[in-house]
């Protein structure tokens, strides 16, 4: 596999619901990484994906894929989307309504290869649906077709914007495995927007955390989501799933990155800046937990 380091150094003024915001991204992404773009809505994650795909132009900067310059504002280079050898799936993706599932996938291939199309169809569990038109598919089925189609052209870079958002939990976990499988099989670099911490931990080799148009942290998931400002050695990151009041305390249920359910007692002062759905860190000292063998 060739080495295609992706070099990104761009600026773009965005107009968000909260007024203008400047997206400033300077980073490098290693070849073959599965990168999660993580952060709140409106932080600029989708815009960054669109800039990489060539669908949106930055105000200025450089985007390079290995030695190939995709975008350079000073040199006035802007390689069109079709020439970037990318596969993408955005939230507003559309399948061709007049084509069957199979035809949609075949159409996306740059080199027609019925065997490869057939493989993708079975990887994504679409065998029974191959002759159906998109109007006869559920939201989740359409998402799977769109994902298979994004992979059909054997892209060197796969861009996914919350690819599994319309799926139920079981299908989500299954397709997470398929995305990883396809990612490894094709040796592509994959950049995926995700709001789901579990998904990030399951899939990503590298996380880019974006807030208010700026990169806040980058690194391995366990580094990005751990906290070195506290001495506690047992640190679990997760999302608040429930808060129950039981006077004078609160019982907070946290679902961890590895899908473990944890309950923590919190006092009112702890909850001042916490709410349902927040990403949190649960920590304790190495002295407290008791360890025992399973089974």
């Amino acid at each position: 596999m060739e080495n295609h380091l992706i070099h990104i150094d761009i600026e773009k003024l965005m107009h968000t619901a909260n007024g203008p915001m400047k997206l400033t991204v300077k980073t490098e992404i290693g070849s073959g990484e599965l990168v999660a773009l993580f952060g709140p809505s409106g932080a600029g994650k989708t815009t960054l994906l669109r800039i990489l795909s060539g669908l949106t132009d930055p105000d200025k900067g450089v985007v390079k894929f290995g030695d190939t310059v995709w975008y350079d504002s000073e040199k006035k280079i802007n390689l069109p989307s079709q020439q970037r050898n990318i596969g993408f799936m955005f939230q507003d993706y559309a399948l061709f309504p007049n084509m069957t599932v199979e035809e949609n996938i075949l159409f996306a291939q740059t080199v027609k290869d019925a065997k490869a199309a057939s493989e993708l169809i079975s990887i994504f569990g679409l065998n029974e649906l191959r002759k159906r038109k998109p109007s006869k598919l559920s939201g989740g089925q359409k998402q799977r077709v769109a994902l298979a189609r994004a992979l059909a052209r054997k892209p060197q870079l796969l861009l996914l914007d919350e690819p599994l958002s319309a799926l139920d939990a079981e299908m989500r976990v299954m397709l997470q495995d398929e995305i990883r499988h396809a990612h490894e099989l094709l040796g592509t670099t994959t950049i995926m927007v995700s709001h789901d911490l579990n998904e990030v931990f399951r899939l990503a080799s590298h996380v880019v955390m974006i807030e208010n148009g700026e990169i806040k942290k980058t690194g391995k998931p366990e580094t990005v989501f751990s906290d070195n400002t506290i001495s506690g050695k047992v640190q679990i990151t997760g999302q608040i799933a429930r808060i129950e009041r039981q006077d004078p305390i609160n019982i907070v249920t946290v679902i961890s990155g590895s899908n473990q359910i944890i309950k923590v007692i919190a006092f009112d002062s702890d909850l001042e800046n916490l709410k349902l759905g927040d990403q949190v860190m649960v920590y304790t000292k190495a002295f407290n937990p008791i360890i025992s063998k399973l089974g």
């Binding site: 400002t229 506290i230 001495s231 506690g232 305390i249 920590y283 000292k285």
Partner: protein, 139 residues
């Protein structure tokens, strides 16, 4: 959680175990820690840190006599008592700080705690975490 600003006065180490002493307005505290893979850069004698411990780890004693192993002992006054069915919280004044202890309602009743009462709040050294003090001007 309870948080007390402190200054590290000494660090003793044996293998990977650290015993950190810190002062809060002149009173000594101890925290027992396990060393990190990479030593936390803010863990140094003279640095300002926060001592952090959970409300449920704060024991209370009245007219405490004799010897006791607990190193972190705070003379407090009761500011507020909030009784729940089984568990209660007591808000305490320690020097210029406010602490909270959560103990069983049964224990509060046994101790007959009232507002203004003087109590000793006790925390084991291994229940105390250290936290880097957030610094002004750092994003």
């Amino acid at each position: 959680m309870n948080k007390l600003p402190a200054i590290i006065s000494s660090i003793q180490q044996s293998g990977t175990i650290l015993l950190v002493d810190a002062e809060v307005e002149g009173q000594g505290f101890s925290a027992l820690l396990i060393e990190s893979v990479s030593r936390l850069e803010w863990l140094e004698v003279g640095k300002s840190i926060d001592l952090v411990f959970k409300e449920t780890e704060v024991s209370l004693a009245r007219n405490l006599q004799g010897q006791i192993s607990m190193r972190n002992r705070m003379k407090c006054n009761v500011l507020k008592v909030h009784k729940g069915e089984l568990l209660s919280t007591i808000t305490l004044k320690f020097k210029s700080f406010t602490l909270v202890s959560a103990i069983t309602t049964r224990s509060i009743n046994n101790l007959k705690l009232e507002i203004g009462d003087e109590v000793d709040a006790l925390v084991k050294a291994n229940e105390v975490s250290l936290m880097k003090t957030p610094q002004a001007g750092i994003k």
